[in-house]
């Protein structure tokens, strides 16, 4: 549970973005450090959506930011199309920026309140000196229409005149305008109502098809993640627990933490019995002094002595499902050693 390993990685030639042994530490004063992300590896094929799920504090947002090199990871590799972003400096790194974009959780605070929608969405083009002013204006209009905002009415208005859902549409327009290959969506619908959430999720699917995007979708809502993802990675306290195709993963979770997350979802059905048996007790342990061995062991109903001593490695379950657990809920096969380092 909550372990390391790279058994689940595919061949580098099949993937667009590959994250290997990513470590992000933050100084916590007095020589201590917060280990926010610890030895996380995953990869994403072109056109795929990877869902990253976990509780607050599990390092999912930090992972997203580390891919963007904001801040730079402490160790590890982030390879985009064969280039290791962690080894780039200055202008070289800056030149990769238009290929990686980000959408944030709070749509209202991620837009500059003193600028008009036109200025906000056009800014990336200005920075990169793309096109003539007229071409830029047409591009902004095209992108705004694509996200369902009427450019005529909206261009000269400021973010406060729009609802949360509309602001998120504007953020998406700003993210797609440089025609990036990867967009990192950091909890893009957590601040929205269900009805608006459905609109934005549908919009992301449309944008993905229209602009050929690859998405990293970070969220804590498993149902939302399942809806958008081709692959789901479950994180706990800076470690990866389980990764796999959402349909298989949700039907037969192999990690006790995934099962607990699934049990916690309130179902909109009064006849569904509440699965209180698998509800987690307690809070996330401190990432300053994480538990030894498997980091999930302090809250795990199946924990044994070995969990405190040995950190579990990624093991193959079935299909593309992999789990890092000493006592997985599904049978695992031996690790194909080919890709481990």
């Amino acid at each position: 549970m909550a372990g390391s390993g790279t058994a689940h990685l595919r061949q580098p030639s099949e993937t667009l973005l590959r994250i290997q042994n990513l470590v992000v530490d933050f100084p916590a004063g007095r020589g201590k450090k917060v280990s926010a992300v610890s030895n996380v590896s995953f990869d994403i094929a072109s056109g795929e959506t990877l869902g990253l799920v976990g509780e607050s504090g599990c390092g999912k947002s930090t992972t997203g930011k580390a891919i963007m090199q904001l801040p730079r990871p402490t160790r590890g590799e982030v390879t985009l199309d064969g280039t290791d972003l962690c080894s780039l400096r200055g202008e070289q790194l800056r030149n990769t920026r238009p290929r990686l974009q980000m959408i944030f959780q709070d749509p209202i605070s991620s837009l500059n309140p003193r600028r008009t929608v036109m200025q906000i969405v056009e800014e990336p083009l200005n920075i990169w000196n793309i096109g003539t002013p007229e071409e830029r204006r047409l591009k902004v209009e095209e992108v705004l229409s694509a996200v369902g905002i009427d450019p005529e009415a909206a261009a000269e208005r400021k973010p406060h005149e729009f609802s949360g859902g509309q602001c998120q549409r504007i953020s998406i327009a700003r993210a797609v305008i440089t025609e990036p290959s990867v967009i990192i969506c950091d909890e893009p619908v957590s601040a929205l109502d269900v009805s608006v959430q459905a609109q934005i999720l549908n919009l992301l699917e449309d944008m993905k098809a229209r602009y050929g995007l690859t998405l990293v979708f970070i969220a804590h809502d498993l149902a939302v993640v399942k809806n958008v993802s081709d692959r789901v990675a479950v994180m706990y306290l800076g470690k990866m627990c389980e990764i796999g195709n959402p349909d298989a993963l949700y039907a037969a979770p192999a990690h006790p933490y995934t099962r607990a997350l699934l049990a916690a979802i309130p179902l909109p059905d009064p006849n569904a019995s509440l699965d209180t048996e698998h509800h987690l007790e307690g809070d996330l342990p401190s990432p300053i002094s994480p538990p030894s061995g498997c980091r999930f062991r302090t809250r795990c109903p199946l924990a044994q002595d070995i969990c405190a001593q040995v950190e579990p490695q990624m093991q193959h379950v079935t299909g593309d499902q992999y789990v890092a657990c000493h006592f997985p809920l599904q049978a695992v096969s031996e690790v194909p050693v080919a890709l481990t380092q």
Binding site: E55, S56, G57, S163, G164, G165, D193, V194, S195, V196, Q197, A198, Q199, L201, N202, E205, H220, D221, L222, A223, V224, K226, N227, V228, S229, D230, N245, P246, D247, Y250, A260, L261, L262, A263, A264, I265, P266, L267, P268, D269, P270, N271, A272, L274, T276, H279, L280, E281, G282, D283, L284
Partner: protein, 391 residues
Amino acid sequence: MSVQTPISGLPTPSGTPGAPKLLEVRDIVTRFTTDRGSLTAVNGVSLSLERGRTLGVVGESGSGKSVLSRSIMGLLPRSNTERSGQVIFEGKEISGLNDTEYRELWGDEMAMIFQDPMTALNPVMKIGLQITESLRFHLNMSKSDAKDTAVALLKAVKIPEPEKRFSSYPHEMSGGMRQRVVIAVALACGPKLLFADEPTTALDVTVQAQILDLLAEQQRERYMGMILVTHDLGVVAGRADEIAVMYAGQIVEQAPTALLFSEMKMPYTEALMSAIPKLTDASHTRLAAIGGRPPDLVNPPKGCAFSPRCPYVQPRCHEESPTLTPSPTAPEHLFACFYPIGSPETEEVRLRIAAQRLMATAPEFVAAPANTPTPAQQSPVPAPPEQTEGM
């Protein structure tokens, strides 16, 4: 777990037949004066609640669900607010009270749990003091008694090491822990009526499940009436006895939970339900979003407030507003709709939408080479692009 906290002021369970209801709200209207004119946030809501029961109030942002609970509790500012209607708490009219009289009720008789545990607590006050404050004020406890009670409360809301936490500041605790403290503050004086205004929206799923379990347990033990306000039908489905769905300041459907989910009548409830991504659906299932936006409450649309977004809209809906009336088959099921789900008009539209969807997603299966749009598809009834699918 059955920790019964030793609260001396905890009233014994009432609820004898013939006793007045815990809460009765009649035709409450709340208007705010804004620069653009008068905004009707709550428009003629009536409801009642017994002790020990939970009423779920569900709706989108701006549906008036939070203003409703604040109106009942008397928490709204007086300066730009206009209120009418009756709020009867244990047989006594409370809507005309002044602030001093309200203070006697707040905390003691009714309490509220707010959405954001980060801002609901005073950041420069130790949490112990925030809990004992109301104990000392309402129950005139001595300092040491209040401390003992507060520690017992912290224990009841399952905060580890309650004695130590008593002198912590809010910033030293996680969001879930802070929400537990907020609940402890609300429960301190043993209120009979508890408002929980989106108590878990700011929290993670695992913590949400813990907090909802905790609220249900405390409500049972203390025999409180609870009004659980949320935008998530999933949160109320397993926890509320009765659900009221609000839209544009009005209750549009109200029924016991099981009945509401099995026989939805109001198209809005159905739309809200279909918009939720479901775990049982395969990934990349297109969600049935509700097109458009909630109405402007300064200039509400003519007729039914949901008519501009309703997939089943008929000409009559744009002209007259439906009132909340009991269902002919089940009098406890109230809804405000001329053409509820299951009526011939909605069934016709439903079939048409299904045909349109099939056309859009898999035209090869529709084996009509010419005249593919059937006459029904060309009918003048406008159908918004994002439609609800059959449920």
